[in-house]
């Protein structure tokens, strides 16, 4: 398997053959006119205390995977094994006890905090679902959680709009932690933050992971942030994972032409390394009714006939490295 397994009981979360196709309805009768294949056969494993980075451009399906794992969306096909149990077929009632174990942090924490509730009340809600009935106990726990994310406990009585973006993200993290989860889906958690605040939040997430043994699915379009955060990285393009490898392996020996293009497109903060090589041409195509064969064929510099004919399978090039391209494998 991709990652060395520290614990004896396998990955915390195993995703197998996950598919989510959204129907596109048009016209008066709202007939289905096509399908957006947002997630089209994805396999990944997430291990305890580790971070899986999911990177790709807008519309590649990375956020959809996060929502499928949390059962905020129902997959069309595939399995989501959490601690060995398949949760993909479970009803919302059955999955309820598991909700505590899986939480999400969003890009815009303001959109996810109720503006009419104080920060303390928002965090307390999580504690109620955890079954903490004693009011005093909840108050103490709220203070602890706020302190844990670096916010003064007195802030519990303030409303979300009274905080800056970075502080709101800290509050979002405190609320996610309130139910003592094992897995947190971080969906672009630092993308909306200023550079000086971004590093504070990244450090906080890392520190909490070390302290609480959290497992992260870290979704981002920023290869630098993903490279810093992740143990394993999956590169997505139009619903497919194109390359999946241990982080160092992926950054040191990228194989897929898309990974190469993505890495070379990131502007380096060093004026001596200005990009001279040609960049990837064309736009990310729409996920609506993609052509048969490799999803990257339209922009790929190595494209050949075979890429257009049939779907490309995943090649295991080394124990820690998978790539969905027959030309480089």
């Amino acid at each position: 398997m991709i990652e060395k397994n520290n614990s004896s009981d396998g990955p915390l979360l195993k995703v197998k053959g996950l598919r989510k196709h959204f129907p596109v309805r048009r016209g008066f009768l709202q007939r289905i006119k096509g399908w957006v294949k947002a997630v089209d056969g994805v396999d990944v494993d997430i291990f305890r205390g580790r971070t899986l980075g999911l990177v790709g451009e807008s519309g590649c399906g990375k956020s959809t995977i996060g929502r499928l794992i949390l059962k905020l969306l129902e997959p069309n096909e595939g399995k989501i094994l959490y601690k060995g149990r398949d949760i993909s077929g479970m009803t919302q009632n059955e999955v309820k006890p598991l909700r505590k174990e899986m939480q999400i942090i969003f890009q815009d924490p303001f959109g996810s905090l109720n503006p009419r509730m104080t920060v303390g009340q928002s965090i307390e809600e999580g504690l109620r679902t955890l079954g903490v009935k004693n009011h005093g106990e909840r108050k103490v726990r709220v203070s602890q959680l706020l302190e844990m994310v670096g916010i003064a406990p007195e802030a519990a009585d303030f409303y979300p709009h009274e905080f800056s973006g970075g502080q709101r993200q800290r509050i979002g993290i405190a609320r996610a932690l309130s139910v003592e989860p094992s897995l947190i889906v971080c969906d672009e958690p630092v993308s909306a933050l200023d550079v000086s605040i971004q590093s504070q939040i990244i450090n906080l997430l890392k520190e909490l992971q070390n302290r609480l043994g959290l497992c992260y699915l870290f979704i981002s379009h920023d290869l630098n942030v993903v490279g810093y955060m992740s143990d394993t990285v999956a590169v997505m393009y139009l619903g497919h994972i194109m390359e999946y490898a241990a982080a160092d392996e992926l950054y040191d020996h990228p194989l897929h032409p898309y990974t190469l293009a993505l890495l070379s497109a990131v502007p380096s903060p060093d004026p001596d390394h200005r990009r001279a090589q040609p960049v990837l041409m064309g736009d990310v195509p729409s996920a609506l009714n993609p052509p048969p064969g490799c999803k990257f064929q339209g922009r790929c510099p190595l494209v050949e006939d075979r890429c257009r004919r049939k779907e490309i399978e995943v090649y295991q090039v080394s124990p820690e490295h998978q790539v969905r391209c027959w030309k480089v494998a």
Binding site: E57, S58, S164, G166, Q167, D194, V195, S196, I197, Q198, S199, Q200, I202, N203, K206, H221, L223, N224, V225, V226, G227, Y228, M229, S230, A247, D248, Y251, A261, L262, S264, A265, V266, P267, S268, P269, D270, P271, D272, H273, R274, R275, V279, L280, M281, D283, V284
Partner: protein
Amino acid sequence: MMLSIQDLKVYFFSDGRVARALDGVSYEARKGETVCLVGESGCGKTVSVLTILRILPQPPGRIMGGKVLFNGQNLLDLNEEEMQKIRGRRIAMIFQEPMTSLNPVFTIEDQIEEAILVHEKVDIEEARQRCIQLLKDVGIPSPEERLRDYPHQLSGGQRQRVMIAMALACNPEIVIADEPTTALDVTIQAQILNLFRELKQKREMSLLYITHDLGVVANIADRVYVMYAGVIAEQGEVAHIFHHPRHPYTQGLLASLPNRVKRGKTLHSIPGTVPNPAYKPEGCPFHPRCPDVIGTCRVQFPEMCDYGGGHLSRCPVLYER
């Protein structure tokens, strides 16, 4: 000097408070040069360009002092009619979100031609030909067919190319671009940055580029101004700023950039948050977050210190060390 902003002060008055958005800012762009203004949200980057173009909302904003010299002429002295001859024609602007700057009910052709016809006496056929040529220049495939498209029919990257074509329509002497690639995917951003570089060489125009992304700055800038809380913290050639930063803020920003080489180590971070412009600290605005703070920083506004070669930094503490 193509564009020179001198000691510009812009304050915002609301709720009985004064927010000093620009507190004596000076910067300049020479002919054919790419100048980057870099800083975090609320540092005054955008306010400064709105002031240059005289589209600052007044009130609540008010220009309290300073000059905006464009080829020696102070734009702040011009009336609206005179300003219209400069805005869009000699100084063009590109915004972050192309969809909000393009009119959704007009075609691409209408919008680019309008930019030409407003400023120049040409007939419609010539305007149309210029329009096609511009779309070609900014790398839009089969431009003749795109002319009749509406903005929603284009992708984000193509919309930004159309915005650039509009900005270039009257051969401006300087283009001001405010975070033009922030909303774009990284591969599209790389295309647009290449386009800027190419156009700048071909047209000998100046580019004033505003961004918060230090990677973009390193890739495109000739010279850089680092802004913090309404003042210029540091300025200099791009290599000086990135290889020998002389201001604790610049040093902190560069050190806090994550990348995979730093994994496993705690990332450097600047403590605290950007101050609210209405409650700026006394003395150096950066002092509450500064690792090198000494007593005088808390009371005395720091002077610019000259490191030679156009490299200036507003931190006497590091200068004297």
